[in-house]
Amino acid sequence: MIAGLLDPDAGRILLDGRDVTRMPADVRQAAFMPQTYSLFPHLTVWENTTFSPQVKGWSESDRDVLAREMLSMVHLIDRREAFPRELSGGMQQRCALARALAAGSGVLLLDEPLRALDARLRIELRSELRSLIRHVGTTAIHVTHDQEEALVVADRIAVLRNGELVEVGPAEYVYSHPASPFVANFLGEMNFVEAESFPADGGAVRLVVGGTNLMAPAREGLSGRVLAGIRAEVCGVLPQEWGAGQGVEGIVKRRLFMGRRISLEIDVPGMGLLKAKPLTANARWAKEGDAVFMTMPAEHILLFPVPKGGVAAALEVE
């Protein structure tokens, strides 16, 4: 709808304060870069990039300057004579980006731009994309289902669920103040447990869950039975006999080495299977079957009302 490819049933779209709701896509100042690159196969990299400026009637010298700048930026200037089929996936993606940028619009719309690429290449290109868009200084809307990609590329994140915008804010804010268990879980694996909460000193509450007491920051308007959530990546592990600070004891049921982090599932009596994703350097020793103390820093515990339909339903994507 922002690009003008679909008409809204209700409401309006403004670009720079101007109502463009009824304006056709090709005259809007919004460049759409779809999931599949849709480069013109019979045009070279250079011709693909200069296509839109040419249609708009730019002079040849202006087009040259622009295309040169865009292609240098995406590191394709040396491949300007190549046809799309002669490029790797990552290069095609960069070319599509150069073309979208050269369309010279105020808004860049990116629909899962990295989806078709290898995992490692995605990691490289997402940082590149961020600096590129900063450099060009354009407004960008980037659609992705990958939460890490969203954190890395964006100034603000808007979380959609079932056609409804459930939260909008800077990455850090949405991460630390998720509006619902769904949003929390979407930005990184969460542990959820139901707990009884009791007021405590200093803006804190004491949670009682499965016979364990945990302190957590209070949340206004919430008392009694609550849903407590804690992110897997803020939970660490210590050998059980070293247990210190706030946490629970359990047995490691599964361990997956993931490089930077280790993903653990820990069976905690009275709470079930909990997930911890500590940095590898801090948890390398933990093996399946080990008795561990799982740390749960109080400041990272989030409280929510207990969802009416149950936790699983509250997290469901569809």
């Binding site: 790797s88 996936g89 990552g90 290069m91 290898d118 995992a119 490692r120 290449l121 990691i123 490289e124 940082s127 961020r130 289902h145 990958d146 939460q147 890490e148 954190l151 890395v152 990455a171 850090e172 991460y175 930005l187 990184g188 694996e189 992110r231 990546e233 803020v234 599964r254 997956l256 080495f257 993931m258 490089g259 930077r260 993903s263 940095l279 590898t280 350097a281 390398r284």
Partner: protein
Amino acid sequence: MPRIEALDVAKRFGRITALDTTSLTIEDREYVAVLGPSGCGKTTLIKLLSGIWQPSEGRILVDGRDVTALPVEDRDLGYVFQNIVLFPHMDVWTNATYGPWVHARHKEDVDHVGTEVLDLVDMLGERGLFPSELSTGSQQKVALARALANRAKLLILDEPLSGLDARVRLDLRYALRRVVKDLGLTAIHVTHDQEEAMSVADRVVVMRKGRIIESGPPETLYDRPKGVFTANFIGESNFLEGAVRRIRADWAFVEFRSGYILRVPAKGLLEGDPVVVAARPEWIALTKEGFGNVIPGRVEGRVFLGATQRLQVRLFTSDLVSVDVPASQSLNTARDVLVSFHEANILVYPRPYEGLQEALKLE
């Protein structure tokens, strides 16, 4: 039982070399991941190992027996592809028990096998559903159950999780590994996803441009990669180019641009060697101490990563490095920092003759 050996195999299509001369041994009951960028020859390698393709050169042995000429249907293997291949008009049960091995059995045997494999992949409860009623993750579990139902001892998985959503992928990784280990199978799992390779396999074989470049257990590959490409491909790394200035006892002193120096273990280095020093973003830190293995720099950017934040620091050597620090660590307003490179947490490589950028290229 199956121990697979590829001896100097290669596959060429006219002038195109899909797989250059390669040798690889896969031990019985080993779970091997074959990892590399798209187009590096992973699928070619497993097509040769499985007998779907004949190698242009070399031989394939299974348990010491030469099977190079044996057609794929006479080999004992199960196959799972990225594109899920289920029969849409058959329910889960029928799909899972469809294989030729199962067909030759009595009904009780079929019941037994079907129950066992669907239970293994946690799909017994969905036995009556049709593929269209299942999520893609569940469909892939059924495809796996069918591969297992053939009782093959060698399981070949070509990008089995690539079409699935991130969260589903995580769960299935573990399911795959558990099933392979529980049944004592040998598995070869092809993927372009470094994290997936590390979390499922006993050993990761890294490929690039039609060749195997190194292989090892996941933690060894992550901690001590033998080459710069692996250091960058399996998790990110920072690279600094320098040259060995002096060697004193066990230490080499590497000089970088603008004269900054780091001390590194001297093993295998000679004075004058051009080298690349590599360190992962989580291996280096900001420090207040002005001595030891530190290089000053200035913070140019910051990316929020959840529990950690990644700082982009422009070192005074003019290299840009990423440093992961806890999200809670606040930075003083002066953006000048000291980056500390602990000797135990840096890797040193000879400078690649083709140039660092070329050696790291992902495609």
